[in-house]
Amino acid sequence: MNAILERLAGVAQNPYEYVKAWKQEHGGRAVGTLPMHCPAEVIHAAGVLPVVLQELADPITSGGGAFFPFFCGYTRSLVDQATEGKLDFLDAISFTDHCVQLLSAADVMRIARPQIRIHFHQLIAALDEACSLENSVGILHSMATDLEETLGVTITEDDLRASIRLFNENRQLIRSIYDMRRSGSIRLRATQMQHIVKSSMIMDKQEHNALLRELLPQLQQAGKPPRDALPMYASGHLCHAPRPEILDLIEDCGIAIIDDDLYHGYRYVSTDVDESIGDPILGIATAYLNKNDNAPCPTRLAPHTDWNIWLRDKVTECGAKGLIVLLAKYCEPHYFHYPRIKATFESNNIPHLLIETEHEGIAMENLRTKVESFAEITKRRQ
């Protein structure tokens, strides 16, 4: 078990090294994607390795001369990666998310690094409109066509179906780990869970699935751990992963994160594509529009979904005693929703703690005091 987890952690910690090695080993090509809704199945169906580009912990250097410091850490890191030439191993970038900061970063990246072909196909953010499905289908077709032209390949419906099957299996395997973790039958630290999900964003899905299939029985055999820590739900941190040291600090304060809706967590695997839908592009578009029911996203517009209410119910269902909101500084969609989440948890008397993170890091000892106090308060309220 530890060997597999270490392998996944290694990929999560050095994502681009894995991709470079994979390209060399397979003689294949890699296409970067940007979070959070780009259907990587379409890229995979082109016969290349889709890679969700990650925030790197490296300090922002040359990128700081190309992009303002009041953008989120993820986009600043992306621009820096491009200006530093750290993304030159990619054969293209393809993304679909309409986020002003993400689009801004991509626009800067393509000027800073014109040798990397960057495609943007805007998936409609308004999920409930009459035109949403038709538009999404059209956009996904354009995305596939552009990939075909750039890569000189043909994407068939069978290619898409095979990719969908592979990705569905991956999501199901990770969700089954979530189920076990939520029920208390296994104990995985939040950092280990992050490594599992983050490595899935990077690795060849076949290889990842094989590792997960091996890992699952080993996790079960490891037995039920004592549940002496305070169970907690972690929410937020869109687009990029919260730093492992923050998750470790939280859990070192007597807390166990048992469930989450983090992008580098449950959000990434929340929704499968319905394989019974004959047209695979229609299936992917439908999954995109339905995904918000399984993990409400503040970057999408879905009037019938309330993230704050959904979160309250999820926290209660999983048996967590409270909520930790991880908010990346300058993330405007999250800023819009946080006050509503705060109000809902206060009115339902469920403890919650806001932790704002920054690319440059945060004062960890201050955070420790904050988390310890939060844990104490939560225990007293029980």
Binding site: F68, F70, A105, V108, A126
Partner: protein, 446 residues
């Protein structure tokens, strides 16, 4: 005690156009009409982003444009209260300040507590306290996802009980060789999609009013709007003259007629008068600033708290801010494509070519065109802290104009309606450094 008498510094002020008073009168009348719209039996729509007001006007619906409301509150020094209230509720001050001001008013207006009403209704005169609540919301924001989320927040602030129509404006990425400004398959697809959504929006409006849409009225309104836009562009281009008869600040003061005022003969007459005053100034050799030593470009959205103040500040530097991205590249900036008999396609084209609807490569080309046309000496890049949509390409703009035109730039942070982000001494030192660079460059040329 020394008997030396210090000489009073010469204070130079911008030479403001007389016609601006007419603009202010029209703006005041618009807000008065909006405040009393419900008494007149009108429905009220809250909207942000592109200028969909002609569509609403044709259906006899009153409208509150969120940015316009926030900007006017800032200009009247009334924006701090709703912003502070939002912060107490947990809304971070790094969020779009337009949104914080507008939503803050919505929240305070809904609250019947004495505290809320006292906060909002300082002296019983504030704009925020008089804006009628929405009967519908239409979200139509170009490029900026925050704009859509702002409307979503307004929708939730009103308990999800007010009908909302979400328009999605596609950003023309323009990566293919076929992609040019206002042409290419990607652009045409995006125009077609927006046109379809405008048609859907009109059906949404019909559903609420229960009346068939008055397309003839839209044609009439767009005829006035198109004519006003043409006159505005003609008048702007006259400012190529030396000294420039009007400044960017004068065009900022005249945004309302091409942004949210009703389309009618008044806006045509306004720009006709403005053009005539500009022509008269050219004939008399009168400039917008007392001494025009430098001709500058303002890049970025306006700092609404400080229009008059900035106008005088640059006049004091003998600098005329001749043109800018905000004013010269937006607000019915391409009127020639509007067929008033069938206006939706042309309207969509204008919406999709506003300065945040086009991506950086095209923005840079357009800015270079303008800088060459107006014979600009340097660029002021106002990085609006909470308008990331406007600010993000500024490093690329600075680089491009430096390399291609040899122009110096001065970059500083500020904001649209949150004046706490503005640091005056930083502005002074950077502007002075840039003007010195222009002087040095001129000296080398001699």
């Amino acid at each position: 005690m020394s008997a030396v008498t210090e000489k009073e510094p010469v204070v130079k002020k911008a030479n403001r156009l007389q016609v601006t008073k007419l603009n202010n009168k029209m703006v005041n009348q618009y807000w008065e009409d909006l405040f009393h719209a419900k008494e007149q039996g009108k429905l009220v729509c809250w909207t942000e982003g592109i200028q969909i007001n002609p569509i609403l006007q044709a259906a006899d619906i009153a409208w509150c444009h969120g940015e316009a409301a926030a900007a006017l509150m800032a200009a009247r020094k009334e924006s701090a209260v709703p912003q502070a209230h939002m912060e107490t509720l947990g809304y971070d001050r790094e969020l779009c300040s337009y949104a914080r001001t507008h939503i803050g008013c919505g929240i305070l207006n809904q609250s019947s507590t004495v505290e809320a009403q006292t906060l909002l209704d300082v002296d019983g005169r504030t704009l925020g306290s008089k804006i009628p609540p929405p009967d519908m919301i239409i979200s139509a924001y170009p490029f900026c996802s925050t704009g859509q989320q702002w409307d979503n927040e307004v929708y939730r602030t009103y308990g999800k009980k007010v009908p909302i129509f979400n328009m999605s404006l596609s950003w023309t990425w323009g990566n293919k060789p076929s992609a040019k400004y206002m042409s290419g398959p990607e652009y045409r697809e995006n125009v077609a999609f927006l046109k379809k959504q405008l048609q859907d929006c009109i059906r949404f409006i019909e559903g609420i009013t229960g009346k068939p849409y008055d397309w003839d009225r839209l044609t009439e309104i767009m005829t006035y709007t198109k004519k006003a836009a043409e006159l505005r562009l003609e008048a702007m281009q006259l400012c190529k003259a030396r000294p420039s008869p009007a400044s960017f600040f004068e065009w900022t003061n005249s945004i309302a007629p091409v942004n949210f005022l009703p389309g009618g003969p008044e806006i045509v007459d306004y720009f006709a008068q403005k053009k005539a005053e500009i022509e008269a100034r050219i004939a008399q050799g009168v400039g917008s600033v007392p001494v025009e030593k430098y001709r500058l470009w303002w890049d970025g959205i306006m700092n609404w708290n400080k229009i008059g103040w900035l106008s005088d500040k640059f006049a004091g530097y003998d600098a005329c801010m001749v043109a800018g991205r905000y004013t010269h590249m937006g607000f019915w900036q391409e009127p020639q494509v509007i067929d008033v008999r069938d206006p939706l396609d042309g309207m969509a084209q204008n919406y999709l070519t506003c300065p945040i609807s086009i991506s950086a490569p095209q923005v840079i080309e357009k800015i270079i065109e303008h800088c060459e046309f107006y014979e600009i000496d340097g660029l002021i890049l106002h990085a609006a802290r909470t308008c990331r949509a406007f600010s993000y390409p500024q490093f690329m703009i600075a680089d491009a104009v430096g390399k291609r035109l040899g122009l110096p730039v001065a970059m500083f942070e500020g904001d649209m309606v949150d004046e706490t982000f503005y640091k005056d001494e930083i502005v002074n030192s950077r502007v002075e450094a840039m003007l010195e660079a222009i002087d040095a460059s001129r000296a080398r040329m001699r």
